[in-house]
Symmetry: C2
Subunit: 187 residues, 2 copies
């Protein structure tokens, strides 16, 4: 046998993820990744195949990073209040460490919306639809809501979440919290 890797793959993916998250896919170059990850291009390519593979791995890591929040959301029993809490949880993580990067999934969804990369688009779409189905579930907990109202409110909330991710990059946490309060005022 021969020598072992001098880096931990999860650790360097975490660093890559943060760079992709901040800059998006296209605006992140291999040179920047090399520097941020602290390893050589060769090592990146032998570990992840190519830039695209590294990006997929970063997305996977992000998903596992937010899975706890998602499980908490899924298991809640307080209807609309759970959705609101999920929104708060989502943005609070964005403002840790002063990083105004929005939601990685939503950012990616936006960046790839006019792209031909079917694999990533499908992943993003399925993630969004998963979110939507949970939101619908929560809204349905209120028996006074008819099916049409539930669907419209679910779309409303998804769009709001969508906009929130973009807004998180250029607004203060206080502004965003006010926005969430207002969003849930009439639900």
């Amino acid at each position: 046998m021969a020598r072992k890797k001098q880096y931990n793959e999860d650790e360097v993916v975490e660093k890559a993820m943060n760079l992709f998250w901040k800059n998006g896919y296209e605006a992140t170059s291999m040179q920047m990744l090399e520097k941020e990850m602290g390893i050589n291009k060769f090592s990146i390519y032998s570990s992840f195949g190519n830039k695209h593979g590294l990006f997929l791995e970063s997305l996977k890591q992000y998903k596992s990073k937010v899975s706890a929040t998602l499980v908490k959301f899924k298991n809640g029993t307080n209807g609309v209040e759970d959705i609101k809490q999920f929104f708060y949880d989502s943005i609070s993580s964005n403002f840790k460490l002063g990083n105004q990067k929005g939601c990685f999934v939503t950012n990616t969804y936006n960046e790839f919306s006019e792209n031909e990369d079917q694999l990533i688009k499908e992943q993003m779409t399925s993630f969004m639809e998963n979110l939507k189905s949970i939101i619908i579930e929560k809204l349905e907990m209120d028996p006074s809501k008819d099916e049409d109202t539930v669907l419209k409110q679910a779309n409303y909330l998804l769009l709001a979440k969508h906009g929130l991710a973009a807004a998180a990059r250029v607004n203060t946490q206080q502004e965003i919290e006010d926005y969430i309060e207002m969003t849930f005022k009439n639900l």
Copy 2:
């Protein structure tokens, strides 16, 4: 004297604008612009200096394109209803010709938010602040609203508009109209 230009500058800027609008600044290459505008690189450079100059000209053209909508908005006397109508006007233009490109200014604002281009950032910011001051004006038409409520609602609407531009790229017109209805339900 010598020969005259075989193209109209406003016409080719319009085409450039549509390409920048659809793809953003970075994702639009000079080759694509050459093809779309129907003129040679040399002509682009001699008319607009460089890619950045052409982009600024495109932004200018966009602003003059939406100025009618903005004037109508400014001159309205129906308070919140004017804002709602402005939102409808803004998105209806986006869905003409099947182009789901969102708002060019907001897209640019987002793309350049982590950029070092001060000139463009300032232009975008002043445009947004101009919009905000009009929104505040409209909200203040309702004498029952205190100053704090006005400011929070203005931020809420700006963020909603912000999200709307992103959402317009991946949602149907109907979904967006439902979203607007919901947004204005409790104002």
